[in-house]
């Protein structure tokens, strides 16, 4: 999806331009449908979800420019969030916010963090620095919307181990890409 063209179209949709909305659908629907399908793994649910996604795009387009996001990322985030919400409603998972975070890895030294961030590294090179199975777990969580429990089952590790894997991976990624 060409970012400039998408950004233009979203800006027009913000002004309730229905022709622009139709064009935006033509440009973006295949990608966003892929997101819904990959996460929901059910065609009819994905078709319903895609409708909700475009209704949200219509309603929220006015906030796009102010948020300063990349157009393609903004659209995909709406589709991912919608699909993950449907998935979590269908198969509830345990709440996490109140569980203690096991973040025993040493906190990054701020000066070291500054040096790393100056390099402005991209996510790909930072993912390569994770242990391979953890990088795969991060990617599956993101791309497929898997829960901690589903990831634990797939990797045959205890739930708490998977939590620790992902949380430490997030900290390492944040350090690597700069605070």
């Amino acid at each position: 999806m060409a970012a400039d063209e998408l950004a233009d179209l979203i800006s027009r949709v913000a002004l309730k331009d229905r022709a622009a909305f139709s064009l935006l659908y033509q440009r973006a629907s295949a990608k966003l449908f892929a997101v819904c399908l990959r996460i929901l793994k059910d065609r009819s649910e994905a078709e319903e979800a895609l409708q909700d996604v475009f209704i949200k795009i219509w309603q929220r387009a006015g906030r796009f420019a102010a948020e300063g996001r990349n157009a393609s990322g903004w659209l995909t985030a709406i589709a991912r969030n919608q699909s993950i919400d449907i998935l979590r409603a269908r198969r509830p998972v345990a709440d996490e916010i109140d569980t203690a975070l096991d973040l025993a890895d040493p906190s990054p030294d701020p000066e070291r963090g500054a040096v790393l961030s100056a390099e402005g590294r991209r996510i790909e090179s930072c993912m390569e620095q994770l242990e391979p199975d953890r990088a795969v777990a991060v990617k599956r969580a993101y791309v497929e919307g898997l829960s901690y429990q589903e990831l634990a089952d797939q990797f045959r590790v205890p739930l708490n181990t998977m939590r620790t894997w992902l949380r430490r991976s997030l900290i390492k990624l944040r350090e690597c890409m700069g605070q």
């Binding site: 233009d8 002004l15 022709a19 102010a66 300063g68 919400d85 973040l103 900290i171």
Partner: protein, 239 residues
């Protein structure tokens, strides 16, 4: 609480929570809690946005797949009702290449900004002036409409960025005359203002709309002082 008040432990915890939210591993209930916090806590919202930007590289894994053809009519029906087929004039916006072409061709020299063309669209019920206001290198163009009947100028909401004490001011430039202020856009970020009566009937082909970043409340001198963020010139088009 600002980020400087936060201990580094709290900050790592927040970074992890923001990352977990973007990865999608949280429960529905936790997702709602995180979203409530995004609204209330700008620092936390920035963490979430950074994770979204960072992790978006993995979006490449989604291989496009065309949805069934009935989905779009269904979306339109849900948005606009069954009785309202799309009547928008697709022709106007159809050629993005045309718009891009114009953006490149026109007066790039003016203050270093690309200019796109405004057009007057005549619809059966209203006459609107529509403009794409672009700034070179920003990738985003702000769309605007000016309703000649009511004098209401609307544009895509624009944040004045981190400089919250600043205001966005709308200017009209007629030929070689100095820019005239048409007003200050609301501080809420909503892009609407009523053009002063004395200017309502005087906006015509070739005039330029410009948005500048000014001191809070608008330029104190009545002349544009801040940087021009975006501008676009008018062209009359009849359909």
């Amino acid at each position: 609480m600002t980020s400087s008040d936060r201990s580094s432990g709290d900050r790592s915890r927040d970074e992890v929570l923001a990352g977990e939210y973007v990865l999608g591993v949280l429960s529905l209930d936790d997702r709602r809690k995180v979203e409530a916090r995004i609204v209330l806590d700008a620092d936390f919202a920035a963490m979430v946005q950074r994770w979204e930007d960072n992790l978006a590289a993995m979006d490449e894994d989604y291989q496009p797949e065309a949805p069934p053809v009935w989905v779009f009519p269904r979306i339109e029906e849900r948005l606009h009702g069954r009785a309202a087929p799309a009547t928008a004039k697709a022709g106007l916006w159809q050629s993005i290449a045309f718009w891009r072409g114009l953006a490149t061709l026109s007066l790039v020299a003016v203050a270093g900004f690309g200019i796109t063309t405004m057009r007057l669209i005549e619809r059966p019920e209203t006459i609107e002036l529509t403009a794409a206001l672009t700034a070179e290198g920003s990738g985003v163009s702000y769309m605007s409409t000016y309703d000649i009947e009511t004098g209401l100028f609307r544009m895509t909401p624009v944040a004045s960025g981190a400089q919250k004490e600043k205001s966005l001011e709308l200017w009209l430039i007629k030929g070689k005359n100095p820019a005239v202020s048409l007003g200050v856009l609301p501080q809420t970020g909503e892009g609407e203002l009523l053009v002063p009566l004395q200017w309502r009937d005087r906006i015509e082909e070739g005039d330029i709309f410009a948005i500048s970043l000014e001191a809070y409340g608008g330029s104190p001198t009545g002349k544009a002082q801040g940087p021009i963020l975006a501008l676009g010139s008018t062209k009359l088009i009849r359909h």
